[in-house]
Amino acid sequence: MIEKIRLAKNVHALNDMVAQQNRLLFKEAGLTVVNMISSPGSGKTSILEALGRQMGHSLMVITGDIQTQIDKDRLEKAGALATQIETRGSCHLTAHMINAVVKHASFSGVRLLVIENVGNLVCPSSYDLGEDEKMAVLSVAEGDEKPIKYPSLFIRAAAVIINKIDLIPHVNFDMARATGDIQKLNGNAVIFKLSCATGEGIDALAAYLNSLKTARPG
């Protein structure tokens, strides 16, 4: 006999269930968790190296790449704690991948956990990993039209970093257009202008991340 079963479930329902488990685990450990998303080469790891030099082992990074341990090595050298996930082809991290890492991890002394997603401006924005907020990174060399062309990340990001601003004299980047489009897509997004080459903006970002921690109860 044919029976119809109504599900009405989001296709990411199983991912979201594990993301919720991760969220509980993070809350118990007293962590602030940021899911950092951008295209490849926007400077995510360089930004995290700069934060690692300031924060040491109070910063933990779970970094996702298709392959290699390059980012883990860079982040550890900068002073942060780091774990590498090699997705072997998958273009985004899932809540299950994060759960496999964090369920047995020790967070002693860690205040901030950044999940550095696989470089990709599209897919990672659809997957909840259990983070407190998503942070988008856009480098000026990518072009000022990226937010409006790839809106799915920018409408979900609580903060947007515009990186490599030291390159502005050398590339065709209209800052007013980029920030205007970001604000149009997401009026609540906090925007940071940053250069890892000169260090400009790093302190403001660090202060923001620190304020996330103090804003949270418990």
Binding site: M1, E3, A8
Partner: protein
């Protein structure tokens, strides 16, 4: 872009619901802003479902248009998230529908 992963998620969700019953039909509602390309998703489901023991399950899809609600009170359908309100020209709006991809229902033969 990530339709293969989504196809795997759908197959796992359906399998969890149907258990050992034979799945005959899966109905999906694909939102215009979900970032999922329907034809590509169906193609991957054709590979993924048999791998999980769900042969001959018919996949039916329904397109859900992107619906916006503007602060001026007008509700409108648009293809693009960057579209302004046709009534007042403002960009301040809430997305009402079309962001998600939903498994609406399945049909199983439990004989």
């Amino acid at each position: 872009m990530h339709e293969y992963s989504v196809a795997c998620e759908i197959a796992a969700l359906v399998k969890q619901t149907a258990l050992n019953a034979r799945v005959t039909k899966i109905t999906l509602a694909v939102g215009a802003l979900s970032g999922i390309f329907t034809e590509s998703l169906v193609m991957y489901l054709d590979f993924v479902l048999p791998d999980m023991g769900m042969n001959n399950a018919l996949v039916e899809t329904r397109d859900v248009p992107a619906t916006f609600s503007c602060a001026c009170g007008v509700e409108y359908v648009a293809e693009n998230i960057a579209t302004v309100c046709p009534a007042c020209g403002a960009f301040t709006r809430t997305i009402k529908a079309g962001q998600d991809c939903i498994v609406e229902s399945i049909e199983v033969d439990d004989d």
